[in-house]
Amino acid sequence: MPAHPNHRADRTEGTGAANTPSARSIYVARSLPAAIDALDEYGSAGAPFAGGTWIMRSPIRHEPHQPHYVAIGKIPELTAIRIDAGIVEVGAAVTHAALASALADLPEFNVLAIAAGRSANPAIRAMATIGGNLSTSGFAAADCVPALLCLEAEVEISSRGDQARIGLERFLQIRPTLEPGRLLTRVILPRRVRNTAHARLPLRKAGDYPAAIVSLAVSLDAAARVQAARIAVGSVEPVARRWQRLEAALVGRPLDPAQAAEVAIGLADEFTGRDSVELPAWYRVSVLPSLVRRAAVAALDT
């Protein structure tokens, strides 16, 4: 059993400090090295705790809590957003509300500002974090994941003595098998001139998980033809992914919303929808062309 971080002299600032080693604990890390050390020592008995909007609902999903959590919400570099000329870096513990606010004046990131700023409801957006959205394998309807896929995001994974940067698509593949002690610490976004849009279909305007999500980023040439396109679909399947055949079909033509939707109808059969208590699989797939049209309209407007 790993040493309990709360018993170490250098980590007494955490809450839950009176725990015995056998009790459940939440250790509030004040620095990134302290968080990584704690996660490393806890191993499979520990997990990071950011906004808590997924972890605190574990009982509803009949999932046990971890014995130990490492709270990362008070680590300065993980709650910061850095906007440079070439890139935007987002700390893993940045909330949806903070992210939406920070990106509000950057049209090229409209897709992410909408994804972060319209998910769930205001109080959830003030708690839920970008790192949590990306790291939670079981959350198919995470709005920020398709938005980040179409923005060519990379993520930084830190562990004791190591730091790696990988593409988001790769991260989504390895996410379920990520070894204990690893922490997603940053999201890195390249800055490019492009039109972007996020189309989501919840059952109500606010509060519901979206049935389906289409995130779109297109670069247009001087004649308004699509030079490059990245389109990602979320909530339809268990894990968000790009729609590469549709991307290829749009390149070289003007971005016409009706035409894009027509093309999407012909390509939607590549998706196998997921069933859930609120919606059948077929419905999630069937709304995709409409969302493509809406996304294209919105992208032309940015």
Binding site: T15, G16, A17, A18, N19, A23, R24, S25, I26, V28, F49, G51, G52, T53, M56, R57, P59, I60, H65, Y69, A71, G73, A120, N121, P122, A123, I124, A126, M127, K205, A206, G207
Partner: protein, 152 residues
Amino acid sequence: MVVNLTVNGDRRSSAADPITPLVDILREEFHLTGAKPVCREGFCGACMVLVDGAPTLSCLMPAALAEDCEIRTVEGLAVGGTLTPIQAALEDCDAVQCGMCFPGMVVTLTHLLTVEPGATRDDIRAALTGNICRCTGYERIVEAALLAVAVK
């Protein structure tokens, strides 16, 4: 373990599992029953309290992470028996409901009118999107919030 909390200006302690939702401590140990654990998913807003001035879903916040914070529940909004402007406006507009969802709405609107004293109808409706009421309408509540804005 002991979790030390500052609730409505009072220092309180709880011997709780650190992952225990704040709403449970408030209700079961401190007998502050205004916040309601209705959905426990963060979607209904009935458990809303202010943590360091920010509206917070107390069903999703572990009590241990509220240490060092100032927690204010609906019971702590009116000081010395004097209603706050939004509470008075809600009463004036007959915008009072059964008490299940309503405390959360009062907390949400209290925060909104603090950070946006000139809140518009759209601002009010947007702020209330996280407070779900299943039994009646929202119109009088919105009208009351607009009245509170006007009175200020």
